[in-house]
Symmetry: C2
Subunit: 592 residues, 2 copies
Amino acid sequence: MRSHLCGVLRSEHIDQTVTLCGWVDRRRDHGGVIFLDVRDRAGIVQVVFDPDTVEAFALADRVRSEYVLKITGRVRARTDATINPNMATGQIEVLGKELVILNQAETPPFQLDEHTSVSEEVRLHYRYMDLRRTEMQQKLVLRSKITSAVRASLEDQGFLDIETPILTRATPEGARDYLVPSRTHPGQFFALPQSPQLFKQLLMVSGFDRYYQIAKCFRDEDLRADRQPEFTQIDIEASFIDESDIMGITETMIRELFSSVLNVDLGDFPRMTYADAMERFGSDKPDLRIPYELVSVDDLMQQVDFKVFRAPADDPEGRVAALKIDGGAQLSRKAIDDYTDFVGIYGAKGLAWVKVNQLAEGVSGLQSPILKFMPDEIVMSLMERIDAKDGDIVFFGAGKRQMVEESMGALRIKVGHDMGAVAARWAPLWVVDFPMFEKAGDGSWTALHHPFTSPSCTPEELEANPGQALSRAYDMVLNGTELGGGSIRIHDQAMQRAVFRVLGIEAEEAEEKFGFLLQALKFGAPPHGGLAFGLDRLVMLMTGAQSIRDVIAFPKTQSAACVMTDAPGTVDAKALRELNIRLREQKAQSAE
Amino acid sequence: MRSHLCGVLRSEHIDQTVTLCGWVDRRRDHGGVIFLDVRDRAGIVQVVFDPDTVEAFALADRVRSEYVLKITGRVRARTDATINPNMATGQIEVLGKELVILNQAETPPFQLDEHTSVSEEVRLHYRYMDLRRTEMQQKLVLRSKITSAVRASLEDQGFLDIETPILTRATPEGARDYLVPSRTHPGQFFALPQSPQLFKQLLMVSGFDRYYQIAKCFRDEDLRADRQPEFTQIDIEASFIDESDIMGITETMIRELFSSVLNVDLGDFPRMTYADAMERFGSDKPDLRIPYELVSVDDLMQQVDFKVFRAPADDPEGRVAALKIDGGAQLSRKAIDDYTDFVGIYGAKGLAWVKVNQLAEGVSGLQSPILKFMPDEIVMSLMERIDAKDGDIVFFGAGKRQMVEESMGALRIKVGHDMGAVAARWAPLWVVDFPMFEKAGDGSWTALHHPFTSPSCTPEELEANPGQALSRAYDMVLNGTELGGGSIRIHDQAMQRAVFRVLGIEAEEAEEKFGFLLQALKFGAPPHGGLAFGLDRLVMLMTGAQSIRDVIAFPKTQSAACVMTDAPGTVDAKALRELNIRLREQKAQSAE
């Protein structure tokens, strides 16, 4: 039906007769001539109809925004005065000869170039209109390129694309499952998978060696800003490998992806231990674009009387950390108060600070509400420890280690953005050597990852000292976002039993929940491990999208609904009867 | 952990030291030497341990079937006497030097090479073991290659991979939906999609131009032999195209797929009208590998008194068709009786036949129970019409057209297989020009495809004579199997309303069911159309699998259950309360 896409026309096409199809992006009358901006997937081109082409001109006069047209015309150079350097096709225009109106359009619910003036609800209701915007088109085109590049890299590396079931059994992630009532097994339910975790491990037991899948996953959780009830995971598992192998494979994948799609060389990814990441950045997903680091000053604070610092410095579970902000001495009292409120969210009771000036003259040039509680030599040792210089501000966090790291880690990010100190680069890294377990409030142990994650010690060491055990897990972090994570799995029965014992999971409970996997591990499971990446988040980062909803064609709202299709919806009583369920009476009864 | 895959070792590796990982496929003692067949994804290699390697020999002596090993050794040529031409690695063996038992295995539930001796239920229960069989591995490896080739071809042709939702609203296919109760919208339900039909049309309205997706689809139907509750579709849609364009695009895709994966050139696909297919093959998915054709003989039978033929020949809705089977005169009375029973399944009251012998001598050499009812000159005209020759048998179907075509079409296939007359080639074709509507028993019209399929006539012609209207639908058929089908869709409001009127769908009902699509069509929908292929069926054909369960990693049984994970399962009362549903009391109460 067409010879070219609108958006591809350039000077090289001058004097060619072309046939285009597309939408009317804009229509203008100007000096008895009609100008149509015609849009398709590739971009926008200007088409001119003059009154000489009687029939086409009359039709062109009738068209309105978002009409669908087929146009035949000749490409010609624009005059110097009308060249538009902001348009890819701005050197040329098409002189329209023939026009067919393929379809009309009612007045659009909103003008595409005025989308910001309507609510997101309206844009989601008319999603098919919002998706016509160039920005949305580009994001989804990039998403398609990203999945294609991921597949190419993994298939090059010998991975097989294998589909796992959507109608399945509860998986071990522990979030709330979406359930599907079974008609043929009354009273029973399928669960939609939170991940293909158990299936991919079974594929390793089956000997498929290298598996991947771009898999839909589901969690019925209350949605935070950037969550969706269904999301997409790049799921990977391999056999006869160790941490280095699988990290190498997936680092290669991400590097090839950035190279082919964004023309960016990410270089080799640094590796950092969990302990180091918490110590230096107060986060297990440090944003290395921000130049600030937390510095421990507990040893110095053990020498002062100032109780706010001295007590946590003496507490084995406490920490006193300094965060130096280059050039921060300019911050106003109001700004500091705001930051004090900010760290309060994380439980910090205050935010001590020192503004550094005239350091060469000793403590006299420093401004701070807390200096009076410390001997000068301690203050100067502190300044030296954190390498302070004139114009800096130093913030302090003190208290329980976890609170200090959370609050100062978050403050580091916030101040970094506020100060414009975020480096304009991609900052990937691996975080490794996670603790195997966390202690819950009641003193019991819970798995930091899932109970199939392999520890890096023996079963005996694990049970003797669960708090010290590290896991063979690894996270890939990019610009402070966790892109993906995984682990070497347990393939040994004795180790699996030891982990269950530490977690207080009875054999019976394990059997009930994961029996088929535990059984499979008895029949010759190979050493194996893997990783899963959040595709939606990866696409967000790569497209610079502000919301996860901008990189999903048909997203759900925060209440897990689709306002376009009006899903979920009511169901007739017969369907419920067939499924052997009924609605609870105290609530909606529309379907009964 | 390894230097090579087991299955890749060849003579070129002789004298190299290799490290292998894999499973013990077989273990034999022979003359004081231990032979292990070690298996991985790439194949099997023989490893020999002799008593010289004291430590490794002792370990090798301990291993049993399905143990997981890591072996280092030297590749050497086999002696002439021990070369195994049936094994890809049969020219060589590995002399084992070092052995690590990576994992032990309990005695397997069945020996892999004796899988036919256990029930499919047992094999599905231990699916991870059954998937270790070379045949199953190869099928899933081929499936991965097939999806990869499909993606490559479509991406080359400018298609974008766009994901559509799994948690959505009922779609227009009309089978029973799987439902998912919403927790945040009490009393409401999501439906799992039977296809991405509406979403892909919306993507065309959005201007994405060329969309594809390898999409999971769901139908809660009672399962016939080759159905699964969840299945995979290659889903395609394009804008600004007509039938020829989209058929060309997808034909290219399938041709490239067969070329790259099976090294088969399918050539250009013939196109056949629905009317022609029914007339000549009694089927809308004719298997062109079978050389027989139905031949209409109504005009001849209008000249005989034999009522069984004369009545349908005179009936405008009747048909008398002959099916000549080359060399079929040898068929026994018993065989003919069996075929008579076979066509009885389709409603035929009998199966008339003529065995052809000594045709040069006229009717005297023909054997048949029905000849006596027909004048000789009609019989000879008949023989000429169907080009009969000595040694053939001719079967006759007579009655209502649909019954005759169904029964004789099925007989054609059955006899073709019984006679060994199925040509050893791939026989693809397009079937086009389907009727737009079928008449239901009550005289109402139903859509042969779905109500968004475009007719090939004007709205006025459509409403004046619905029975004559053809649709712009097309099916791709391969070896008698429908691989895929689709249509040009309606993008015009007036046409859509005309179709709804013929179908007796009230505006209100259409609005309720498909309101969002109908609304989208008002805002500038481009001409568009598409196709969907059943991936599972395509893989079955390409791998020669007998069952759809052999090309799906974790399939469901006929009762829509997974015996491996024991899904579906019961759910605790709290989960049901959160979803605002309860079980019906008269049935299972386990969760209440």
